[in-house]
Symmetry: C2
Subunit: 432 residues, 2 copies
């Protein structure tokens, strides 16, 4: 599994490589995950074994700490302490959402030159790969010999070139367990329940809400992902149909459908959503950390379906919304072992390839090599641009034709990543 084959399209600069002695900077960026410290520890463990590496600087809060020379000595950590840090959720070095400017990058090289830093490892998502690319380009422009590596992590699972991303398996496990408990709750006290799950552009995490299902009528019964258009009228018809059939309905929606709702809201004549205007330095509008989408959808169902159902059954329809929010990222004790192992491994691989292999810059991607029954992966070098170039979305075959559910193909894909679920008990329900 550890082979990093010579990849077609590797940069020419890799030819005739020489050994490069110096110091290292490692940083973490973007939203934290349960296993992001596995990657940090994997890289440190590999680096301390290498003759070419002198000091290992941990940059506090990513590029912010690099620019302020806010470094800590990662060689000072004991193996036992590293073991525990690896299992601790959320970025141990602190994180950042800052996108470095060209000026920032020039400043960083001055710091690197001054400190003889020859290796930069930056753990994060596609934004972090982009930031790494900016630093690498600036280094190349300044003719400074330096190896810049991105180490992947994202609960969104939307990095190009990766079968799946470190961090996803554990977040998916949390979403699956939360959905399992929530749909048991909804069986007990019936009604319509809307759960908003993280995912701006990709529906992988929302789709994970089905993974712990054990009975044919287990929720969520409807799943909406950002890969498909979203019509409020269709949504209302879907919810009504499920509720008519089962007397209850659990819905999972990706936070990213908020933008898809806006597309046809005027044509369908519905109220606009009150949204936050806040954006980060990459121009992304805030979606998480607010209940507005869930509350909007619950109010929409209440306004349209509430009176109808009340008339039919004589009972008030119970409609609730939850936004799973930040709990999806760093919840302790709900970690996928596969995810933790792979996160450790990409960190190790990045350090190994940077120090001993032929590539100057790049990222380590995860490729699936086994079948559904014999899950296996390999770790493959790719250039930074390949990952920074865009975002991966759910393949069509993972989404049903109606655009309101998930297919078996997705289950086959995702189940090996999340670990096993507790087997529930059910009353036989023999009538008396």
């Amino acid at each position: 599994m550890s082979n990093t084959p010579k990849t077609p399209g590797a940069p020419d600069a890799s030819v005739g490589r020489v050994e490069l002695k110096g110091n290292v900077i490692i940083g973490q960026a973007g939203g934290p995950t349960c296993v992001i410290n596995q990657s940090l520890v994997g890289a440190i463990r590999e680096l301390v074994r290498s003759k070419e590496i002198n000091d290992i600087y941990g940059a506090l809060h990513g590029i912010d700490g690099m620019l302020e020379e806010d470094f800590i000595d990662l060689r000072a950590e004991t193996p036992r302490s590293l073991e525990r840090i690896a299992r601790t959720p959320s970025s141990a070095l602190g994180s950042t959402r800052t996108k470095p400017t060209t000026e920032d990058c020039l400043k960083l090289f001055e710091i690197c030159k001054k400190r003889e830093v020859r290796y930069l490892f930056y753990i994060g998502g596609d934004d972090t790969a982009k930031a790494s690319g900016i630093v690498a380009d600036a280094a190349a422009g300044a003719d400074y010999d330096m190896r810049v590596f991105h180490i992947p992590k994202t609960i969104d699972n939307d990095l190009l070139e990766n079968d799946h991303c470190p961090g996803y398996g554990s977040a998916a496990r949390f979403v699956a367990l939360a959905s399992m408990g929530d749909q048991l709750d909804n069986r007990s006290l019936k009604g319509v329940k809307v759960n908003v799950i993280m995912g701006r552009r990709a529906g992988f995490l929302t789709a994970a809400s089905v993974l712990a299902q054990q009975r044919s009528d287990d929720g969520p019964h409807l799943i909406y992902v950002p890969e498909r258009p979203f019509s409020l009228d269709k949504f209302l018809r879907d919810v009504t149909q499920v509720h008519d059939e089962l007397g209850r309905c659990v819905v999972a929606v990706a936070e990213g459908i908020q933008e898809r709702i806006q597309e046809n809201i005027v044509a369908e004549g519905h109220e606009p959503i009150q949204t936050s205007e806040e954006t980060d330095s990459f121009g992304h509008r805030q979606l998480s950390g607010t209940g507005e989408l869930g509350d909007y959808l619950a109010a929409f169902i209440k306004n349209h379906l509430g009176p109808v159902v009340e008339e039919r059954t004589g009972k008030k329809l119970r409609i609730r919304a939850d936004t799973f929010g930040y709990l999806q990222r760093c919840f302790p004790e709900v970690v996928s072992k596969v995810d933790a192992d792979e996160a450790l491994r990409v960190g190790r691989e990045a350090a190994r390839v940077a120090v001993t292999d032929e590539h100057l810059n790049g990222t380590i991607t995860i490729r699936r090599t086994g079948t559904a029954k014999t899950y296996a992966v390999s770790y493959v070098w790719k250039p930074l641009e390949a990952v920074a170039a865009g975002h991966r979305r759910m393949p069509d075959e993972y989404i049903n034709a109606e655009g309101n559910g998930i297919t078996e193909a997705f289950r086959d894909y995702a189940l090996p990543l999340v670990g096993r679920f507790p087997r529930l008990g059910w009353l036989k329900g023999k009538p008396i």
Copy 2:
């Protein structure tokens, strides 16, 4: 621990008791918990051993199923199946929020007489104790010999006469772990974070957010419970002070403070909260299943503190809110062993006391007998009225003088109930 001593104040009707043969109805009501089926299974295991018990009817969805004679045969379950059901979250029989009317109760007795039902066990919170009391009174009025027992459960932990309630320990464990992960997240990406936690009248569950803290500056840094008045002006001063000190601030608020905010919102000149008008049949206004309180507090901080901090540090203040919502009730795999064991035991005790002891009606309460180091409890019979008479709130000594934090006395009280937490790892942070 199994002694149920003759309690002073037991009803006179208990004197001269005779053996009572017949059938049993068991039902579950109110919000489900992770361990409510432990109580169900505990009662069933005890009942099947008794010569006096014939059929054991499981009522689907509590009083609703009782009135519609929607019963299943609980003797049909195998020991192995019961073992698994006990470990499955959420009411296996289904739940209800219906409060029976006097007419409902009279109808229920007709059903009980017709079916020779002599024992009714109703698992739930104070509303369920109230409903049990109505049924018991109607039985007494109709001179029908019947033993009505309430079996306690509530994640709110607010039942009178109980040191703590089955269901609380597991929900508290979820809140503690969620808060642990969330405050690690907030360490990594700093800002102000508001978490809304369940609890209409009592702050026990919100207070549990401190239980997994390991470092002196771990969040939540501010905790607001419904037992104290809530001033938005004071809240803003508190958040500003913590943020000035730590550069971040995690706040835990009980959903019940929504009503405390309204008390002085006009006097302080702030915007009212847009609230749901929905109420259940007990007249409780909907607080859960919406993000409105969290969004209101986040917007309040954003409007008042955002510009100030931005000016001071040059950085945009990151303000987010999460509402932990229904995940607190039924999340699988985050269960306190103590809680599970005690929930099983109150079910067993209720069945044992009803069949063999001197009390006609009542509830089983949990009394703490050990010290902080040697945790132990006993299970004590009490009359239904004692539990149905009101709600327990947090004792004054669990809340700090300022009304924005939790004391050591609360930790001593709650820690034995929730189990151990994972020990986190920390970078030494040796400067380089």
